[in-house]
């Protein structure tokens, strides 16, 4: 390689390297270092594992952490269940303009910010909101019903936010399935369930895993939806991080929580990949 070409290559790579270095690696290294500094006296810090110990000794912290993990897995599973038939329809039934329309319809909610989208749900779900009104109007309820500030509302909001990110990789994966392979599945005597279980789902596996990873990560790291729809019952781990950084002004503690959350996402994604026998490479290609 001539030096000129090497320079060109370097210049082309520079934005990517800067992006990775400045926005991802550097802050995380900083957070990692910060998370190991203990406050021993006002404004006096020293190296130690105190921030991590605090996490394990204070039940509120690790319970919130576990709750976030379990709820996120639940949200991912529900999103997958809802998205699969939609993606199947988009990929295998819809044609031409209908297909484009359907994808656009999935995209539509993302034209407004997450905050506005969540506020929209609050309008619908609150005590004086539309659903409560309809329930009373149809005689299904006698008093105003508060649908906000419970786990159901949080899950609803998170599933709604994740749906698109599940549908797109799923539809992509399903689209590449040769229709005659499905027909061969029936032809050789397979029922709908057999064809789905032995042919369609295995084929869509990279898409399922890719979509699940994306939705899981978005859900675990979400902040606005659990706070707004769950209120003080939201109890999302990101709230704890926010509280440490902003309310308590205890940055090292917040940094430790941040690292733990990163560890959690990585561990669950890794477990998911292992469980489904998928490689990270094939999965990323699908997403």
């Amino acid at each position: 390689m001539t030096s000129a070409r090497r320079l060109t290559l370097f210049l082309m790579m520079a934005p990517a390297i800067l992006w990775l270095g400045l926005l991802i690696v550097l802050p995380h290294v900083e957070i990692l270092i910060l998370s190991f500094s203990e406050r021993v006296a006002p404004r006096v810090y020293q190296f130690g594992f105190g921030n991590y110990l605090e996490f394990f000794t204070e039940p509120l912290y690790w319970r919130t952490f576990a709750r976030t993990a379990i709820m996120s897995i639940l949200v991912t599973a529900i999103t997958l269940l809802l998205a699969f038939p939609i993606a199947l329809y988009i990929a295998r039934v819809a044609r031409g303009r209908v297909k484009a329309m359907l994808l656009l319809l999935c995209l539509l909610p993302f034209w407004v910010s997450e905050l506005v989208r969540t506020l929209g749900w609050m309008m619908l779900l609150r005590e004086t909101g539309l659903i409560s009104y309809l329930l009373r109007a149809t005689g299904l309820a006698t008093q105003p019903v508060e649908l906000l500030y419970n786990d159901g509302a949080v899950i609803l909001g998170l599933v709604y936010g994740g749906l698109l990110f599940m549908i797109v990789p799923l539809a992509n994966a399903l689209e590449s399935l040769d229709p005659s392979v499905v027909e061969a599945g029936y032809d050789l005597g397979g029922s709908r369930a057999t064809v789905l279980r032995r042919i369609v789902i295995p084929h869509a596996m990279p898409g399922i895993v890719a979509g699940s990873i994306i939705v899981f990560m978005l859900t675990v790291g979400n902040f606005a939806t659990p706070v707004l729809l769950g209120g003080k019952n939201g109890l999302w781990f990101t709230e704890q991080i926010y509280a440490q950084f902003i309310t308590r002004f205890n940055w090292p503690q917040g940094a430790a929580f941040g690292m733990l959350l990163l560890l959690l996402s990585s561990a669950i994604v890794w477990a998911g990949l292992r469980l489904t026998g998928q490689g990270l490479g094939t999965t990323l290609r699908q997403a």
Binding site: V181, E183, A184, Y186, D187, L188, G190, S191, R198, H203
Partner: protein, 361 residues
């Protein structure tokens, strides 16, 4: 009326919108028969197959398998299995799992299904391939897996939709023979569709020639070749010469046809008057260096060699003769005295009246 056939197609029509892909087709396939449907691309062969398999529903008519109507029976309950044009092997399964799939769908236990799959693979010459990925197989091996996957279920009827289309020429020639042998050893009824007349001629017991959604003629390969019923069959099945002319009257043995520029020729056919198409097989044309050798033939012409198409045993000559709108094509025997003939040489050609089929144009 009880039928002893494996398959009866009764006046089946299939319309897509206003376009009739299959129009009023009827035929029967006897047990153990190798039945082919031969026709050009787009004539409705696949649509017909898909109706038998249960993936399309006839607009009208009946499909009966062993005398049981298949109308309303879903594809996975029909005693037919299909080898798809693209083969459609399951890429997410191993070779063995592909073959065992159909049996496990029928509730055969895993162990037994695996064992029967292994035995079937052995019979099609893929012993020990059970654990391979289907993507790691060659074209011919994939072919055999697709067929094994069907045969292991012992269906009444196996449908094959141009299964050799994707193979290269050499392998295709080989698979033709292999398919025919497989069909013989398993004694299963095959319904085979193809646009390749040589595949149909080599393998079939009977052939239906299809064109524009309709059947033109059904018969044995010999029958279709020697006694085509329509101009389409005459030109589609086998190589042939085709000239335009007009029937000029009945001659002592059959018809007399005046070709476009005035030459008279003798042939056989149903056309009584008007424009006609004449067909003569290249191998029915006798060649001679001198006119005397062809004295007994009613059709005798003189011309010049315009091209020598050397192709080993299939070599032929193109001959320009006065009065013919297309050059005459004649088989050139490589063992005969004319084997060394060159372009421009004068030559005499002739054929019997029986060799020339005349159809109304």
């Amino acid at each position: 009326m009880a039928s002893s056939n494996d398959l009866d197609i009764v006046n089946v029509t299939k319309r897509f919108g206003s376009h009739a892909a299959v129009e009023d087709v009827s035929f029967s396939v006897a047990p153990g028969e190798f039945f082919s449907i031969l026709g050009p691309s787009g004539c409705g062969k696949t649509t017909l197959m898909r109706m038998i398999a249960g993936f399309e529903h006839p607009t009208s008519g009946d499909i009966r398998i062993r005398d049981r109507s298949m109308i309303g029976v879903p594809a996975n309950r029909r005693p037919v299995n299909m080898v798809f044009q693209s083969l459609a092997l399951f890429p997410m399964m191993s070779v063995g799992e592909n073959v065992a799939y159909g049996m496990t769908c029928r509730g055969v236990g895993r162990a037994e299904a695996d064992e029967r799959a292994a035995r079937m693979l052995e019979r099609v010459g893929l012993n020990g391939f059970g654990h391979r990925q289907v993507t790691a197989l060659s074209g011919g091996q994939r072919q055999r897996v697709a067929i094994a996957r069907c045969l292991v279920l012992e269906p009444t009827l196996v449908l094959l939709d141009e299964p050799l289309g994707a193979l290269d020429l050499k392998l295709r020639e080989h698979m033709k023979i292999e398919l025919k042998q497989l069909q013989g050893t398993f004694n299963t009824t095959f319904a085979y569709i193809t646009h390749d007349q040589s595949e149909a001629l080599v393998m079939s017991d009977r052939i239906a020639v299809m064109n524009g959604g309709r059947f033109e003629q059904i018969g044995s390969p010999r029958d279709l070749y020697h006694n085509p019923g329509t101009p389409f069959v005459a030109s589609f099945v086998g190589e042939t010469n085709r000239w335009r002319g007009a029937v000029s009257g009945a001659a002592d043995r059959g018809l007399s046809v005046r070709l476009s520029s005035g030459v008279l020729a003798q042939g056989r056919g149903d056309a009584k008057t008007g424009d006609a198409l004449c067909f003569v097989r290249p191998e029915a044309i006798a060649l001679a260096a001198e006119a005397g050798a062809l004295q007994i033939l009613p059709n005798r012409f003189e011309g010049r060699v315009s091209a020598v198409l050397f192709d080993g045993a299939n070599s032929s000559l193109l001959i320009n003769a006065a009065g013919f709108d297309e050059p005459i094509r004649a088989v050139l025997p490589q063992a005969g005295p004319l084997a060394g003939i060159t372009v421009g040489a004068p030559i005499h050609v002739g054929w019997t009246a029986d060799a020339m089929k005349v159809f109304a144009a």
